[in-house]
């Protein structure tokens, strides 16, 4: 699944997150979160799971999380991937 352009989804509201997907070499995940110390491992795991599911590659994934639950993370990332042309 090739990332063709920048795609963005989400908000900066509490309990939501902002995901930006951009074309890049390899696959880079950057996470900022209000609950980073307690949940970075779970946020990363869910992001990787979604990326693997769609076979995404050649992308920089920047996440600014405001304490979103897993289903929100999944939905926002999928939408951002779609907007980036990485999902059909």
């Amino acid at each position: 699944m090739k990332i063709q352009r920048k795609g963005q989804a989400g908000t900066m509201q509490s309990s939501d997150l902002m995901v930006i997907v951009e074309p890049a070499d390899g696959l880079v995940i950057e996470i900022e979160s209000t609950v980073k110390k307690q949940f970075e491992h779970l946020i990363r795991a869910r992001l990787e799971q979604v990326l693997a599911k769609h076979g995404a590659e050649g992308a920089r994934i920047s996440v600014n999380d405001r304490g979103a639950l897993d289903y929100a993370i999944e939905a926002r990332l999928e939408t951002a991937l779609r907007r980036a042309g990485g999902l059909s």
Binding site: S14, S15, K37, Q38
Partner: protein, 512 residues
């Protein structure tokens, strides 16, 4: 290092003071005389006005190494503490400890003076950035967090000797009588300042509203005030009292309030003589509204509403639902206006409110109380001091005092705040011991402490969503995931003192 009874590691000493690990809420007995101060004799009958703040500091004899205090009834609108420390610095005085009744976000202005060595210790809890920097190890300043009752105890027992109290006096005369009822910085009750007025070695009334003698009604009398200082302003009135405190409109909050009201109903305490305390949060006020309806329907004549007072409680007093209000601090304009007018709206000192070491404080007479929480663990211990990053961000307030005093302490909190599970295996910091907490109410269920089997049975009979607290934790973890514990270094940067002076927990520096 020793373990206290809750399994928290307590060092032998902190900032040069030997520590007593917490054992239980009840058994520690005082072995002290009431603290004393020199008796003064003032023979002149003229004015005690010394000029401005700087003149007052000089007149008070403040020197390096001494302890000062202010009261926090002006809350986040207070400018006195910042102005005071600026003047202390300008006079070249160093190594001052602050033992105010609370320090707020607005006092982040003190940070450069802490770095500079003007302020070298906080004998009081802090709200906001100062605590965060201390937790990160970026600011070196030992802090001892005390509850409202615990602070009163520490001053009264002489554990924290205050050399000079600078007390904001919203309505004051030249001979030192003052009250909090009138003037541009009116804050209502002066409950916290009363303790300082009676125990500080020197007392300065600082006013922005000098009135002709006598300032009546007298809240704090001329007999304990050494000097009067005049300033242009004590603070921002808009931030001193909020004009309104509102019921939550959040559906989760309303659901929690509904469940909390079921708990109060099930307790059977809502009958003639009922007494009640809530905080000012939107959920608390929603519970108060349910309670008002219950009292109306049952034609209940309550005894008193206590603690910090809001307009909701004023309405209940004026409607005849309570005999009286005991007010340590006014939270909104309606409460301020009422305390100056209603004989049954009684000002009370922080000692009368919550000091554990006297012949019985007002919290002991509470039936039901609503308390908040940042975290709750499966033993019902509550944290209100440290936030999700492990930083010390909030003061205890009356939390552990009210929990210990009330027959039924009900802790209300959403199950999840921005992915953080509120009910968890262990709290980051223990503010209030689970032994004093009766019930935990979330929108996902009600957990009853095992020591209240009858209440639990009654709630089940009422078909309330009663759950074991471990079941509640598991349900919440299933949604949020299990959080990784925050990592701390071994360095202790602050103490959480229980109301009796024993150490219930410590704050360690967060590993960055």
């Amino acid at each position: 290092m020793a373990l206290n009874s809750l399994g928290r590691e307590i060092p032998d000493s902190f900032a040069g003071k030997k520590l007593l690990p917490y054992a239980d809420p009840w058994s520690l007995q005082p072995h002290a005389e009431r603290s004393t101060r020199a008796i003064r004799r003032l023979t002149h009958n003229g004015s005690k006005l010394v000029g401005g703040l700087r003149d007052a500091i000089i007149a008070s004899g403040l020197k390096d190494g001494m302890t000062i205090s202010t009261h926090h009834s002006l809350r986040n609108g207070d400018s006195l503490l910042n102005d005071l420390v600026r003047e202390i610095d300008a006079l070249g005085i160093r190594d001052i400890k602050i033992a105010s009744s609370s320090v707020h976000v607005v006092h982040a202005e003190l940070i450069p003076y802490i770095r500079k060595g003007v302020i070298t210790g906080l004998e009081c809890g802090v709200n906001g950035p100062i605590g965060e920097l201390i937790s990160k190890g970026e600011l070196d300043c030992p802090v001892v967090v005390r509850s409202h009752g615990g602070r009163a105890r520490a001053l009264i027992c002489g554990e924290v000797p205050v050399d000079v109290a600078f007390l904001a006096a919203p309505c004051c005369d030249e001979y030192g009588n003052f009250n909090g009822y009138y003037g541009p910085s009116a804050c209502g009750s002066l409950g916290y300042a009363q303790v300082d007025a009676q125990h500080a070695h020197k007392v300065v009334a600082v006013t922005d509203n000098l009135v002709p003698f006598p300032a009546v009604p007298v809240g704090i009398p001329q007999t304990v005030v050494d000097f009067v200082a005049q300033v242009a302003s004590l603070g921002d009135p808009k931030k001193i009292v909020s004009s309104t405190t509102r019921i939550t409109t959040d559906p989760i909050g309303l659901q929690i309030a509904k469940y909390a009201a079921m708990v109060i109903r099930a307790s059977g305490y809502v009958q003639d003589g009922f007494s009640f305390q809530t905080g000012t949060g939107g959920i608390s006020l929603a519970v108060a509204e349910h309670v008002r309806d219950m009292m109306r329907q049952g034609k209940v004549k309550g005894s008193f509403g206590g603690g910090g007072i809001t307009g909701y409680f004023v309405d209940m007093l004026e409607e005849g639902l309570f005999e009286a209000l005991f007010d340590v601090q006014c939270f909104d304009l309606k409460a301020v206006e009422s305390i100056g007018r209603n004989r049954r709206h009684q000002e009370m000192t922080a000692g009368t409110y919550a000091n554990p070491f006297n012949c019985g404080s007002v919290v002991n007479r509470l039936d039901c109380a609503i308390l908040s929480a940042t975290e709750i663990d499966v033993d019902f211990n509550v944290n209100v001091n440290t936030e999700s990053m492990g930083y010390l961000l909030h003061n205890t307030g009356g939390h552990c005092d009210v929990a210990a005093g009330a027959k039924l302490a009900i802790v209300v909190a959403p199950a999840i705040r921005g992915r953080l599970p509120i009910v968890r295996d262990a709290v980051t910091t223990v503010t209030t011991p689970g032994e004093t907490v009766g019930v935990v109410v979330t929108e996902r269920g009600i957990a009853v402490n095992d020591r209240l089997p009858e209440l639990k049975a009654e709630l089940i009979r009422m078909r309330a969503p009663v759950k074991d607290i471990r079941q509640l934790r598991d349900e919440i973890y299933a949604i949020t995931g299990v959080p990784r514990p925050i990592e701390f270094t071994d360095k202790v940067v602050g103490l959480i003192e229980y109301r009796d002076g024993s150490i219930i927990d410590v704050v360690r520096q967060v590993r960055q």
